[in-house]
């Protein structure tokens, strides 16, 4: 897989594309970053054409997500076309609408895996987050149907205030059902930059304990408890922030192309240009690709430089993708208890502002 990624990077191939088919959803999750109204989604014909273009650009991994994918009546037409173009397809769904017939069709079409959002092993806690009564029961039933068809399923467990103590039980439930399990302990801002949902993030002390919970990786430390130190200068000059815009692209239901689902920097629209032309010629993507760790203010010399998972998308939403992401600084702090350069600077600014007031 690494070799494949390296070859794609070298040749400028968008190895992975995440396509949101809709932002409409049957759930109203309290932490969701999307506007669920339909502002003019791509038609079936447009999506099939985009899939052809994406296949021609060399994409191998295709994630179909939303919103809720089953809100589109043409979902199976889209999925069948994606498989005809021989993508390795991953689906993201809440599984509430997965009937036996749908599970059978998904299996027949050779989907690689299905990721299902599950917030708790307690129905009342899960339903309180999704705001859809009965959603826990229906999600679990949907997953059972998928598993009966031999489909690989993984639970995505996003943690926030209200379910932060449940992840061990969710993981146990995943094991019982023969499913995988991934945990995401941090909430991200809305796509329009609204940071109000961040208030749902678990408290720093609890977050720190979660990052240090060795049971999450069967006894092996999940994260290094000490900062890895600054990246060596020669490495920092070459290090890419992540695969966004390099081998990864995101396409919205309205045809907008972004470097990643978490990086809402508009780079073009497949309704007006061919995907390959955007991928090759977009000035915005060229700008994203030009950034190396050494260019990021404060990060290259930071004590977390070599181990930080700084997300340029979060940095973009915070105001500058050539700058730090304070949310990732907070993550590094939660893991190690050592403040990053930028966190120290931010605290100094807050302290100075308070002193001036």
């Amino acid at each position: 897989m690494e070799e494949m990624g390296a070859r794609a990077l070298e040749q400028g191939i968008p190895l992975s594309v995440h396509l949101d088919l809709t932002y409409r959803c049957n759930e109203r999750c309290v932490h969701c970053y999307l506007d669920h109204d339909d502002h003019g989604e791509m038609t079936t014909a447009e999506i099939l054409r985009v899939l052809d273009e994406v296949a021609e650009a060399g994409t191998f991994f295709l994630t179909l997500s939303g919103g809720e994918i089953f809100m589109r009546r043409d979902f199976f037409e889209i999925l069948a076309h994606a498989r005809k173009r021989m993508f390795a397809v991953k689906l993201k769904t809440n599984a509430v609408m997965v009937t036996r017939a749908r599970a059978e069709r998904i299996a027949r079409l050779g989907v690689e895996s299905v990721q299902v959002s599950l917030y708790s092993h307690r129905a009342e806690a899960h339903d309180a987050i999704t705001k859809l009564p009965g959603s826990f029961r229906r999600t679990i039933e949907g997953v059972k149907r998928l598993r009966e068809q031999g489909i690989k399923v993984s639970f995505a467990n996003v943690l926030m205030k209200g379910n932060e103590d449940d992840y061990g039980h969710v993981r146990a439930l995943a094991r019982e059902m023969g499913a995988g399990f991934t945990i995401d302990p941090m909430i991200t801002p809305m796509m329009d930059g609204d940071r109000g949902v961040l208030a749902l993030n678990v408290d720093p002390e609890r977050l720190s304990a979660i990052f240090r919970d060795e049971s999450l990786t069967e006894g092996a430390p999940r994260f290094s408890p000490t900062p890895a130190g600054p990246a060596p200068e020669e490495d920092a000059a070459q290090m890419l922030p992540c695969s966004a815009g390099h081998t990864l692209a995101y396409i919205s239901p309205y045809g907008e192309v972004f470097p990643c689902v978490q990086f809402p920097y508009p780079c073009g629209n497949v309704r007006r240009q061919r995907f390959a032309d955007i991928w090759k010629d977009s000035a915005q993507l060229a700008e994203v690709r030009s950034v190396r760790l050494a260019d990021v203010e404060g990060c290259s010399t930071c004590v977390h430089g070599a181990s930080c998972s700084r997300c340029p998308g979060l940095a973009y939403v915070e105001g500058n993708f050539r700058g730090p992401s304070i949310q990732d600084c907070e993550r590094s702090y939660a893991i190690t208890g050592v403040a990053s350069e930028n966190l120290k600077r931010k605290k100094r600014v807050i302290w100075l502002a308070a002193a001036a007031a």
Partner: protein
């Protein structure tokens, strides 16, 4: 014995940097096929006997003796079938 080969409907495949990458639908393992293996895969239509595919897609394009090419193709087809990438049958495989 006449053998037929067809591409498994469960796989994902793409040519990346001139190399054919295939992911098995059975266990998501990734395979990189060399040029001759890729030629066999691309010609595996379920209707043409394996020997015919070897003549048309291998011997006509690569400098290799027919007997050797056929033996290699049979071994390769069995191997790819074990990984769920090809379907091998003694009768034509309907698509």
């Amino acid at each position: 014995m006449t053998r037929y080969i067809a591409r498994s409907p469960d796989v994902a495949a793409r040519t990346i940097g001139g190399e054919l990458m295939i992911m098995s639908g059975r266990d998501s393992s990734l395979f990189s096929l060399n040029e001759t293996a890729a030629a066999l895969w691309e010609a595996a239509d379920g209707a043409t006997p394996l020997a015919g595919i070897v003549d048309r897609a291998i011997c006509a394009r690569f400098d290799v003796a027919r007997e050797e090419a056929l033996a290699d193709a049979e071994a390769l087809a069995e191997d790819l079938a074990r990984h769920g990438i090809l379907v091998v049958s003694e009768a034509p495989i309907p698509r």
